[in-house]
Symmetry: C2
Subunit: 470 residues, 2 copies
Amino acid sequence: MATQRIPDVESGRRLPDAMLADLRHLLGARLALGLAEREQHGRGESYHATQAPDAVCYAESTEEVSAILRLCSAHGVPVVPFGAGTSLEGHVSAVRGGVCIDLSRMTRIIAVRAEDLDVTVQAGVTRIQLNEELRATGLFFPIDPGGESTLGGMAATRASGTNAVRYGTMRENVLSMTVVTADGEIIRTSGRARKSSAGYDLTRLFVGSEGTLGIITELTVRLYGIPETISAAVVPFETVEAAVASVVSIIQYGIPVARVELMDTRTVQATNRYCGLSYRETPTLFFEFHGSPGTVAEQIAMTKELTADHGALDFESASDPDTRATLWRARHAVHYAVQAMRPNAKVWSTDVCVPISSLTRCIAETQADIASASFFISIVGHVGDGNFHLGLVIDPSDPAELEEADGINDRLIRRAIGMDGTCTGEHGIGSGKIKFMELEHGRAVRVMQAVKAALDPANILNPGKVLPAA
Amino acid sequence: MATQRIPDVESGRRLPDAMLADLRHLLGARLALGLAEREQHGRGESYHATQAPDAVCYAESTEEVSAILRLCSAHGVPVVPFGAGTSLEGHVSAVRGGVCIDLSRMTRIIAVRAEDLDVTVQAGVTRIQLNEELRATGLFFPIDPGGESTLGGMAATRASGTNAVRYGTMRENVLSMTVVTADGEIIRTSGRARKSSAGYDLTRLFVGSEGTLGIITELTVRLYGIPETISAAVVPFETVEAAVASVVSIIQYGIPVARVELMDTRTVQATNRYCGLSYRETPTLFFEFHGSPGTVAEQIAMTKELTADHGALDFESASDPDTRATLWRARHAVHYAVQAMRPNAKVWSTDVCVPISSLTRCIAETQADIASASFFISIVGHVGDGNFHLGLVIDPSDPAELEEADGINDRLIRRAIGMDGTCTGEHGIGSGKIKFMELEHGRAVRVMQAVKAALDPANILNPGKVLPAA
C-alpha cells in the first residue's frame, strides 16, 4: 500500500487516494483539504514557520481518532494532534506532512464527580469552558497556562502556569487518560484512585509526550474547592533581583502562595499601555493567596514582612473580585501586550526553569545578556517555581534578528541547564528545543528514544518533535 | 557466552564461572554465596515463599552497580535489586535465580540543599537515617511507609504511607534519580528544577517500576519545613462505616490533614496488647495536623465538628511530642502486633485503593466478606487517600488457609477494581499481584510490555515481576 509521496503543499494530494477516500467516508465534511485551513493548523503562537499538514480531520470521538490512526498506521502517514493551536515551540508544525487531527470539537464534559474532586472531559475542553461549567459545584480546575488551551493540549505539553506553585502542574493533576496508540488501540492509562502502585506510570509517560507516543482523547483531572477567601497583592521593587530574592525566601519559608508572578519594568510598561492600566513601572510581583480568612490573612502578613525585608516599595493587597480580575487579565495579556509593542512583530517566547536557589543569579545573568539586544525583550515568570520566560519581539522575516534571538535563547538555555535546570519549564520541546535535549539529558535521551521506538515503531506520531533522530 | 544453567540452589553455582570470577574480582568479600545469606535476600515481609538468588552482591557505588549489570547483561543472568527487604508482594524473590544486588550499604547523603528544599542520597539511605541527618536543618522528608525501608526501595515500589494525604507519594516527591539500565548505562532521569516540559517523564517511569526497567542508585527528593505546630487526635467511632464517612467528608471539605489512619476494633485490640496501650477498643481514626498554630487550631476545630457530625464517640487531641510518638509507634507496630496474635503465623498483607466516594462501601463489603474468615484479619488504612490494607494472619504452611486467603484477596481486589480503583495503592505488584494487571489495565498492559521489552530486551531486570508474560 506504500504510495509515492510527492510534496504538493497546495492541494493536500500528498495523501494516498485510498486513504483520502476512507477519511472522507469516515468524516464527511469534517475532512478539510483547503490551504487556509491547513495552514492555520500548521502553526502555534510563536515564531516558528508554518508547516501545513496535508489534511485536517475534525474528530468528535475517541473511536474516530482510533479509526484515523488505523488508516495512518496502514499507510505510514504522519499524524499531528491539534487542540487550540496555542503551543509555542512548533508542536503542531507538520514537518513531514500528513494528517492533523483537530480535537477542538471534542468538548464534552463526560462526568463531574464532586464527591471525588475529579472530572472526566474530552480532550478539546478548554480550561475556561471547564471552569464555567463547574461554577455551580463550588469546585475549580486550577491549572492556568494563560491561553485558551485545551486540556488535552495542556496534558500533552505538561503545561502549568500561574497556579502551579500551589497546585502543581498537569503532571500532578491528571489522574487518568484515554489514549489512542499508533496502531489505533484505545487504552486507559489508569483508574481513578488517588494513588496506585500497580505497574508503570503510563499517565505520567503520556503527560508531556507531545503527541509522539499516542493521542490523548479524554482526561480525568483533579478538582479543588474554590477557596473561601482569595486575595491578591501587587508589590513593586527597585530591581528584579530584589523581587526574585523575596520570592526565594517566601518559598523557602513554605508560605503556600497560590500565585506569584514577576514582570520586569518594560513588561509592566507594555501591559499598562495595552490594557490601559497604571501600575507603577518598575519590577513587580503579583501575588494571589487562597484559603480561609484566617490563613489568607496569615499568608499576607508573612509575605508583606518578607517582601519588605527585601526592599519592596509598596504592598497593595486587594480582595475584591474586580481588582483581582483586572490584575490577572493584565498578567494574561502579556504575550499580546508585548507583541503590540512593534507592528507586524512575532514574539519568540521561550522559558526555562531552575532550582530556586539559582533563580536570582539566572535572571541577573540573563538581564545582563539581553541588555544590549536590538529588539524588545520582556521578562515574566512563575518565579515561585523557578520558572521564567523571555518574550523576544522580533521581525521573523529578518534573518539577522532571528540569529540574534537564537543566540540569546541558546545562552539562556545553557545557563539554566548549567544550574541543573531545564530548557523548558512548561512550553515543551516541540521542534524548537530538540537541539537541547542531549545537553540536558545526556544518555537518558537514548532511553526516551527506545520508548518512542517501542510505542511508535513507524514514527508516525508527530514525527520530528521532542527527540533528536536516533 | 550462554552457559547451561543447572538449578543448584544450595551452592550458588548456577552462575557462569567466568562471571563469578569477575564478580569476585570486583567485589571481593562483598560477593556472598552462602545459602543463609542468599535466602535472607530472597524474601520480603509477607507470605511469599523464599526464592534465593544464586549470589548476593553488596554494591557501594553506582559504578559498581553498572559493572555488575554489564556482567549480568553479557551472561544473560537475572538481577534483583534489594534494599531493606521490607517489600510485601514477593518483589525480591529470585524467581529465575541470578544475582541479587544489595544496595543497603549505599547510605551516603550526597548533598543537602536546604535553600532548594531537596536532598540527594544514595539508594540505601533509609527514611529514618535521612530524617535523623536532616534534624539540624529544620527540614524533613515526609514519606513514611512504616517499615525501615530504603529510599531506593520506596521509589521502586512507588511507596507512600501515612503522610501521603498531605504530602503525596514517592511519585510526587522524587525530583530526579540516577538509574543504571539493563546494559549497565548510567543515566540521570532529570535535573532538579521543580517542573520541566523537556521530554518524557523518565523519573515517573522508573518510580514504581520495581527494578524491572533499571536499578535506582541515587535519588533527589523533596524536603519540607518541619511544621511549626504538630497536633494529633484520636477519634473512636461505633462503626467503621461512621469513621470512614467522616474521613470522606473531611477530604471533600479540603481540610489539609497530614495523616488520617483507620484501625478497626480488632486491630486496636492487637495493638493495645502488643504495645501495652489502652486505646478504646472500637473503630478508631488517628489524625495528625501540621501548620502554624492558627491553621492547626482551625483544622482541629473543623475536624472535630465533622467527626462529631458522623457520631464520633470522643475527640482526644494531643500536641505534646510524647503522646504523638506513642500514637504513631502504635500505628507503625500494627504489622507486628497483628502477627503476634498467633504463634508462627505470617501476615498476608494486601492493599487496595479506591476513589474516596466508594471507600465506605468498599470497606463495608469487605467487612461482610471477611466476617466468617477462619483466621484473624486486621483492617487498617490510609483512608484519606481511599487506601486500606487487610492483614490476613495465616499459617503459610497450611494450603487450606492459603486458599482461603487467596479467595479473600481476590474478591477484595475485584471489588476495588470494579469501583475504578487499583489492586494496590502502595505495596506494588511484585509477583503476587501480576494476575490482576490485565483486569485492572486491560490493553494498557501491552503498552507496559512494549516499554519493558524496549528497555530490557533480554528480560534480565527482576524478571517475573510486575508484568504478565507478553
